[in-house]
Amino acid sequence: MNLTLTNGKGSTSTVTSAAVMKSSDAVSDQFPAGLRVLVVDDDPTCLMILEKMLRTCLYEVTKCNRAETALSLLRESKNGFDIVISDVHMPDMDGFKLLELIGLEMDLPVIMMSADDGKSVVMKGVTHGACDYLIKPVRIEALKNIWQHVVRKRKNEWKDTEQSGSAEEGDRQPKASDEADYSSSANEGSWRNSKKRRDEEDEAEERDDTSTLKKPRVVWSVELHQQFVAAVDQLGIDKAVPKKILELMNVPGLTRENVASHLQKYRLYLRRLNGVSQHQNNMNNSFLGPQEGTFGTISSINGIDLQTLAVAGQLPAQSLATLQAAGLGRSTAKAGVPMPIMDQRNLFSFENPRLRFGEGQQQHLSSSKPVNLLHGIPTNMEPKQLANLHQSSQSLGGLNMRVNASATQGNHLLMQMAQSQPRGQMLSENTGPRVPRLPSSLGQPTVSNGISNGLLGRNGIAGNNRGPAYNPVLPSTSLLNFPMNQASEMSVNNSFPLGSTPGISSITTKGSFQDEVTSGIKGSGGFPSYDIFNELHHHKSHHDWDITNPGLTYNASQHANPLQGNIDVSPSVLVHQGFSSTQQTGQSRDSALIGKAMFSMGEGLQQDNLQNAGQHLNPLLVDNSIRVKAERIPDASSQTNLFPEHYGQEDLMSALLKQQEGMGPAENEFEFDGYSLDNIPV
């Protein structure tokens, strides 16, 4: 892009910076010029001013005055934008909700703006994952450096996914962040600093292309997570420090940072499980704590969570993220207290790994409670059942659902949903009755496949020991609902609102608490999906879930025929997830189911539910043997949950749908190595 400045005003400075930036930075020669910015503000005056300012900074600007418009723009063209700037107060949607959604679905850096400079609002921005907060009226100087957020995010993603012990990187990242992350009114000096820092880091990291986001990520497989949990248990949750855990685990290639971030999530997960009964408020507070740590690593969270979910590499990262977020949100905020996005993510991710681990063994969580959410939803399924489920889940196809039969509570059902597999319909099919119960917001029983898939995958629905078929009666239904609500448009099958995913995930983690789960999910920052969850919770009585879950699980398994990889389906989750594919169950709640499953799993599926679920599952599943062990379905590509950076629900859904249809090489598609999500044929 040529730097010819048409306007003379301030051109000198602009040129200089641009030129300097150009030479320094990674993405392209002209970077940050050409940065694609989406600005959202309902005030036309501000919008016009911002557009002009951004143009002056040589960015490519798209403006819109409604959040919904922004979302559809973002969804339509994935990777069409580099960064989003949004106002906090908007008529059609709360800015923070938009922020969360974007973070979950597209994982783009989002800058919040407001005339409000009160501490609480700014804090809200932080907790919801905004990468910066600008006070209006915004000055052009503040906009000149927004590119740093794009670069930083990419860097962080690398870092998170790095497997080799690169302590320096870790150190560097925070350093870079600190230095570069000054207030929005950063002056030009700052970008130089950050640039310099980045240069150093780049050299050290030997990463040429900061813009490439495809990097290997640590996949917290079931085995790995089990090792982790074992180590933590051995040390005692209070004394478990990353360094010691790392030593105990003795896994080559695993870094302290990997363990640290995983531990953080795990802690949140535990806390959530324990605090399920408590008020969401409390949880929120507690979350804030750990959140901070994790804050800023949204990408990592997503990555990790997704990983778990994407065992088969099927789950679109976003769905996972959403699930997680949803799950997290829900669990904490029954009252609708928004769970900081971070929490959600953490929880979610936390859960996922857990889920994965449910390999048919009792997961021994330090917290004996249904912490298993991750470990799956505390499922009371017997390992055997899990195993059965597991096997049947194979039929689910893409879903990597691993029935996690372990867990003190029961079995963890790791549902690794193969993305392609769960067909949204499945969900709907499974839990007939349940679906209706789903929060009204859901409206449709069929949860979008994406969601369900996400749910399944993510939720490490603890395998409840229920009969043969896991029936993870998860309050997760709420999760499902979550997505559903979320997207009002989300057809159960397809609308897998990312936002909701988080909810879902959280639900699953919750495992033991059904109620909590719902509430937790609700918490998420205003995600519509959260509402769904809440509703789910409200509606849900376990019984509801029973109905639904059983169905869900079945479907999940059914659909998951091509289940690839492990089907660690938390009883409820699996059901759901698989459901989408199994139309036979006639449960329409595909996504809902899945969500539900997930949730229920997390929410402490009731035994009955599980039973039901299990039963349902059995018939559905080709072979009722549910193997607890999460075996990856061979096809399901590795468990690496490499989620492509941005892939939208549509991708996920399609992937899932594809799987369900029994795409042959579906598994292959889900190979995570290449962040298959992107490759998943839609």
């Binding site: 005056t45 107060h89 409000d116």
Partner: protein, 139 residues
């Protein structure tokens, strides 16, 4: 020369607006954005602002007519108004917005009404002055 004269006049007007505390730094920012591609940028923005803000003012007026004042709604409306006003650098108007919001938070209906009247006055006064200013700038 006429151009010089009007330029000087313009500068004087602007200075006066600043001296009276009616405009702040943000106005300068807007002027700096003006360029050959957008030679009337500032005027366009100001026009846009007044069009939009009159809508907000009506809404606030309506809300103030209610028997039981909904302070939350008033606060939200005023927040929007404040954001818009501050983006053109309307200093006094912005200050009045803050005052209004304080009254809202205190639940002081009387204070809100008074403050709003004052706000409207400031808003209108600035509008006139800016119109005159732009008129001169076009000369």
């Amino acid at each position: 020369m006429d151009t010089n004269h009007s330029r000087r006049q313009l500068a004087a007007m602007k200075q006066s607006l600043f001296d009276q505390g009616l405009l702040d730094e943000q106005f300068i920012q807007l002027e700096e954005l003006q360029d050959d591609a957008n030679p009337n940028f500032v005027e366009e923005i100001v026009t846009l602002h007044y069009r939009d803000s009159s809508r907000l003012i009506s809404s606030i007026e309506q809300a103030l007519k209610e028997r039981n004042l909904d302070f939350n709604k008033l606060d939200t409306l005023m927040h929007q108004f404040k954001g818009s006003s501050s983006s053109i650098g309307a200093k006094k108007v912005k200050a009045e917005c803050n005052l209004f919001r304080e009254y809202c938070r205190a639940g002081n209906a009387e204070g809100c009404m008074r403050s709003f009247q004052q706000l409207k006055k400031e808003h209108a006064a600035l509008r006139k002055k800016l119109e005159a200013y732009f008129q001169v700038s076009r000369v």
